[in-house]
Symmetry: C2
Subunit: 109 residues, 2 copies
DNA sequence: TAATAATATTCCTTTACAGGAATATTCCCG
DNA sequence: CGGGAATATTCCTGTAAAGGAATATTATTA
């Protein structure tokens, strides 16, 4: 697992940008993002740059504006990575189940 | 979504610790972690502290040693957070499917 | 072409944090 | 009780990164 996705999302304002882009389900302009999140334009630009380099967003230039939208690939990679952990906590659950069954069969004796 | 999980995992050596603890499926000692990852003991301790504060690991003190093991809760929270994104990329997939069906019905005319 | 809008970049300052080295702490055992 | 093992903490230094302010860049439009 690459650490770039984590560090990109480790900054609160960047996480907010990602969640904003998720909630609107479509591209947003730098100015719109800055407005909605109460960020100054340069900071919005800078955070978007980081997100861009991390592959979490993509841009389309339309005249003066830049439309930023989410890319799901890094989050899908994260999802795949978590798959391993899901197995672990499923196993623990299975163990718990097995343990409970054991208890139950003891009670039946 | 809290940003602490992300920042904890944003550091490569900490991510390696988490993955190591996952692969061994059981608790490990500070020394064992340092050895297996080629870290110096103080750095291992410091990283484990951060992971501990982020709730990603827990400790059990046994005499001289500290046994660290994974906690799945933060990763489960991450999993829940990703659920929203899964919906998004499923929607995109649905749209693709709808589009393909549309194509197909056109071909049938 | 000048003015303006939208965005990106640069410079500066402050802060957080990682690694190295040394040291403190805690516990076991002879 | 003293020594040694395992771990944590502290101090120092270098570096990366975030925000603010100013400025550069690019494109539109009158």
């Amino acid at each position: 697992m690459e650490t770039t996705t984590f560090s990109a999302l480790a900054e609160p304002n960047r996480l907010r940008i990602v969640e904003l882009l998720l909630s609107v389900k479509g591209p947003l302009t730098v100015g719109e993002i800055a407005d909605r999140l109460g960020l100054q334009q340069p900071q919005a630009s800078k955070h978007l740059r980081v997100l861009l380099e991390a592959g979490l967003v993509e841009v389309e230039a339309v005249a003066n504006r830049r439309n930023y939208k989410l890319r799901v690939e890094p989050l899908q990679a994260l999802d795949v990575w978590l798959e391993t952990y899901r197995k672990v906590w499923d196993e623990r659950f299975d163990n718990l189940e097995a343990y409970l069954q054991k208890l139950q069969s003891k009670e039946n004796n």
